[in-house]
Symmetry: C2
Subunit: 197 residues, 2 copies
DNA sequence: GTCTATAGCACGATAGAC
DNA sequence: GTCTATCGTGCTATAGAC
């Protein structure tokens, strides 16, 4: 059963919706309050100021979407590990909540230094590390040709990221994503063919 | 000798600077006027309204950065064509004016439907077309393994786009880009190794 | 924790003198 | 083509009653 959300959660959710559509500056305290169904002043019982709401949202963006444990074990499966990774990435790309957070991230990434720092440290670097570790193991196992694992990881991720952006842009305008949705898996095939020995 | 720019050009330039930093909503007519050195009201002698300024900027973003003529001829050079393409992409990524326009594009892409349309049609599709055409020719020439040229083009472009985003993010905060700047060329090597027969 | 009321400011845009 | 002056609106935030 869906637990009745409290006001603070409602505020955050309303703010995410509005920022995803019109950016931080376009999501006024007025509009957020109206969407929640309270007055502007009531917002300040839950958040110090408007920026405080944004900070809460940022922390949600990087709340470990991919938990990658037992990399050593999983990496030995080779291509199917990459396939699993890409499918997880695809699911996140189409998840309603994550999609909105992705939009918020893309909009604010170029305007907010704190977000950039978090993105580079927590999002980018963490994903690269997991992947490069896996690729390194695959190299040791003789499944993958020898090369710089970090660079190879970036080559793998960049296509996924690109597809995710395209999916996000298409979905804003309710355009069909079917043609590009298959690219997640096709990328794994293409990539594996280029790195496997 | 640098031609003395007229007021209209100054307004656009000031607007690009401000939007690149704080987005469209953060670039107020007041601030733009102040940066140019005129009053707000004088802006309206050159532009119908604020949105009209944005439209002018958008048209600059897609003013054919890459002119690719004689594709048939160039494509036959194989890898060196891709290398040329990547280097051109790299130059644009580090060009001051183009860098600002890229930031404007990334910020507004998720907030402006007209821009999304232009991006998908003029930016994305045009680049994909040029590249897929070149790759198709390479396949005919027996230099590249047979596959869907459009998909292959997207695989090639996605890494360049990703690197460009990273470069842009790093440069906003004046962080070093040397490590990632070499990725443009490294990507060509990696990609060519995976598609050449 | 919500409300009403209000302060104080920045916004986009227009009118009219020069 | 630029200026001064001004209008109406929306913005973040606070004070104080309930």
């Amino acid at each position: 059963m869906p637990k009745l959300r409290n006001t603070k959660e409602k505020i955050i959710e309303a703010a995410i919706d509005l920022i995803a559509e019109n950016g931080y500056k376009g999501a006024s305290v007025r509009k957020i309050a109206a969407k929640v169904g309270i007055r502007e002043s009531a917002i300040y019982n839950h958040f110090k100021n408007k920026e405080d709401i944004l900070k809460s949202i940022f922390s949600e963006i990087f709340s470990t979407p991919f938990e990658m444990k037992d990399i050593e074990e999983k990496a030995k499966k080779g291509k199917s590990f990459l396939h699993q990774y890409a499918v997880a990435y695809k699911l996140v790309s189409f998840d309603k909540k994550m999609e909105k957070l992705f939009r918020v991230m893309m909009i604010e990434l170029f305007q907010n230094e704190d977000l950039r720092e978090s993105f580079l440290k927590e999002f980018h670097q963490k994903e690269i590390q997991v992947l490069s570790k896996a690729l390194f193991i695959m190299m040791q196992e003789g499944m993958v040709r020898s090369a710089d694992p970090m660079f190879m990881a970036q080559e793998f991720i960049s296509a996924l990221f690109y597809i995710r952006i395209m999916v996000s842009l298409l979905r804003i305008d309710s355009k069909p994503t079917a043609p590009i949705a298959t690219h997640f898996e096709k990328h794994v095939d293409f990539f594996w063919e280029s790195i496997s020995v």
